[in-house]
Amino acid sequence: MVSKTCVIQNPTGLHARPATLFVQKATSFPAEVFLTKGTKRANGKSIMGLMTLGLAKGDEVLLEVDGQQENEALAELAAMLETVYE
């Protein structure tokens, strides 16, 4: 398993389109993807999971990837968490 702590950069947080893109990307990898904010942990392949985390700009989130191509997935997904979409 590999992990990285990321800080959300998008001004409106990780809602809506950015969240959708993240889930689509996560789903394209065979590895399992998890996000943890504080005490809440969510499946990174689930839009519902991501939405219940309610990620806002400046939030710290722990990204964990476990399985095949985990390094590649970690790099791409971490970059998405720190992207500014607008």
Binding site: T12, S46, M48, T52, Y85
Partner: protein
């Protein structure tokens, strides 16, 4: 039997009703035997698959008929269907609690809905509505409830529904559905706008029509006078067939006016323009005889998405309309958002009085980056046609000056970068706040034109929310106070040699046109479908007489007296 509502789209249709009530779906909660778990899971997965296939079809249809923006909502629905947390939680419940899929679905849905709804975020609450919608779809599949609207009804269909949702609209069979009747809604609700753009008769706001009509009943929708006849007798049917013929004939007469100028009997020429909400509407406006675009609302670019539209995206949209309209004027209103029109990604705080709050130009003068991007796109597009810029919700001269100074900054940037734009581009303001109307003489010196936005002007002048049924009687376009303001605005502009348009609903109203013409209004902007009727009316009116008529009605005491006077002394005397 007859029911009265609000005439939302003109025309008459006789057809068979297809009734769709506000749905309540019930199921029985059951426990299942351990050896039934596998088949229950399979039944659940099948329902997901069918729902998904259905959404695929709806999405394609929506894309073709309403554009990619509208189709996005169904894509979001599909993501729920594929969501491991959502689907996984339901499957787990079926297995561990040994309950039927319906019960598991409802429990999981409710838990997510309550999480979403508890979030202090408009966007998340909207997703709760999406989740309800998609869960309903799965539930129907589980229970074998058909979503088909036309169940064995032959010939032209009149859709009788509680309200027409975007989902209903997308799944409509446009070849069959020839009219709408709805319980709720007004002239500007989604269903009314849809009906006008599909050019089929509609009556809305009928309160409980779905209770009085059965699928298969014969109904007459009279979108001219706003009534629906349920199970009419032969005499009434005959009467309406005549009315329908007369209306068709009149429409044919109007069609002859398509390329005619808008001139009164005594030779005064005015401009009849269309209000549009997206670039595609411009084509329809031209086909309906519009001589220009009097109001292009730019909100469509900002709504139904999750981030601000780029300059490039906006430029393409504005340019498309400018090119379509050629030499004809296109008045583009800068962003009129905030208040009751929310953008989830703008994250504005909730306000107690949204209509008196942080919206339109107030927001743009504060968030200048947002404003500048739009102005840049508008200026660039002005090189491709006859674009005019209009600021909404101006209350003071200082606001106008500030907006203009930002516009000048953007122009200077473009000049520095050698980017072409129309140096002579006209800039105007909407007059929709009484304060602006009162100082129209001062504002007129610093604009190229005014456009009177009556919907808001009336509401602000009368201090009455037109959506509030208890005070909507005060929403009076013909109130002497409103007419005097309009008169004052037109006079002030003309004194400075500037032109005045009107882009509220009032500009297309048969009763209002004689007065507005007499007061000297130069441009009438309305929904495209009203243009030919207005042109036909103008041809029969004499400007000189209407000048006297309007002077006289300004001395009358009540809205009712004014309406009666115009009806009896002007309209009833026309051939």
């Amino acid at each position: 039997m007859l029911q009265k509502g609000i005439a939302a789209a003109p025309g008459i249709v006789l057809g068979r009703a297809v009734v769709k009530k506000a749905e309540t779906i019930s199921y029985i909660r059951k426990t299942i035997a351990p050896d039934e778990v596998a088949s229950e899971l399979q039944r659940f997965r099948d329902s997901i698959q069918t729902a998904n296939a259905e959404l695929d079809a709806i999405k394609q249809k929506a894309k073709l008929e309403m554009g990619a923006e509208e189709a996005q909502i169904f894509e979001a629905h599909q993501m729920f269907l594929q969501d491991p947390e959502f689907v996984g939680a339901i499957e787990q419940k079926i297995e561990s609690e040994q309950i039927n899929a319906e019960a598991a679905l409802e429990e999981v849905r409710d838990s997510f809905v309550s999480i979403f709804e508890s979030m202090d975020n408009e966007y998340m609450r909207e997703r709760a509505a999406d989740l309800r919608d998609v869960s309903q779809r799965i539930m129907k599949k589980l229970l074998g409830i058909s979503d088909e609207l036309d169940t064995g009804v032959e010939g032209p269909v009149v859709l009788v529904v509680h309200d027409l949702t975007p989902s209903d609209t997308a799944s409509l069979d446009r070849d069959k559905v020839k009219g709408f009747a709805t319980n709720i809604g007004g002239r500007t609700s989604h269903s009314a706008i849809m009906a006008r753009s599909m050019e089929i008769p509609a009556v809305v706001g009928l309160s409980d029509i779905t209770e009085h009509v059965q699928t298969g009943d014969l109904v007459i929708v009279d979108g001219l006078s706003g009534v629906v006849h349920i199970r009419p007798d032969d005499a009434l049917i005959a009467e309406y067939e005549e009315k329908q013929k007369a209306y068709q004939k009149q429409k044919a007469e109007w069609a002859k006016l398509l390329h005619e100028p808008s001139v009164t009997a005594d030779g005064r020429q005015v401009e009849l323009a269309a209000n549009i909400g997206n670039p595609q509407d411009a084509v329809q406006a031209l086909e309906s005889g519009a001589e220009g675009i009097g109001l292009f609302r730019t909100e469509f670019l900002y709504m139904g998405r999750n981030n601000f539209p780029s300059e490039e995206e906006q430029f393409e949209a504005y340019k498309a309309v400018a090119v379509t309209m050629g030499e004809r004027g296109v008045v583009i209103r800068t962003l009129d958002i905030g208040g009751d029109k929310e953008l989830p990604y703008l994250e504005l705080p909730k306000e107690l009085n949204p209509f008196l709050g942080y919206r339109a130009i107030r927001l743009c003068l504060d968030q200048t980056d947002l404003f500048k991007t739009q102005l840049r796109a508008l200026l660039r597009a002005s090189a491709f046609g006859n674009i005019k810029i209009m600021y909404p919700m101006i209350a003071t001269l200082a606001e106008l000056r500030k907006a203009n100074s930002i516009l000048e900054e953007v122009k200077a940037e473009l000049r520095d970068q050698n980017i072409a734009f129309n140096e002579k581009l006209e800039v105007g303001i909407m007059i929709e706040i009484p304060a602006a109307a009162m100082v129209a003489d001062l504002l007129a010196k610093e604009v190229d034109f005014f456009s009177i936005g009556t919907n808001d002007l009336i509401q602000y002048t009368m201090a009455a929310d037109r959506m509030n049924e208890q005070v909507s009687y005060l929403y009076q376009p013909f109130n002497p106070a409103v007419l005097r303001l309009i008169h004052q605005v037109i006079e002030a502009a003309h004194k400075e040699g500037k032109w005045v348009g009107m882009c509220g609903e009032m500009a297309g109203e048969e009763l209002a046109i004689p007065i507005l013409l007499g007061l000297g209004l130069d441009e009438f902007s309305m929904s495209a479908s009203s243009i030919l009727r207005a042109r036909s009316l103008l041809k029969q009116l004499e400007y000189n007489k209407m000048e006297a008529v309007s002077k006289y009605v300004l001395t009358l005491g009540t809205a009712e007296e004014i309406r009666d006077y115009i009806q009896q002394e002007v309209l009833n005397r026309l051939a």
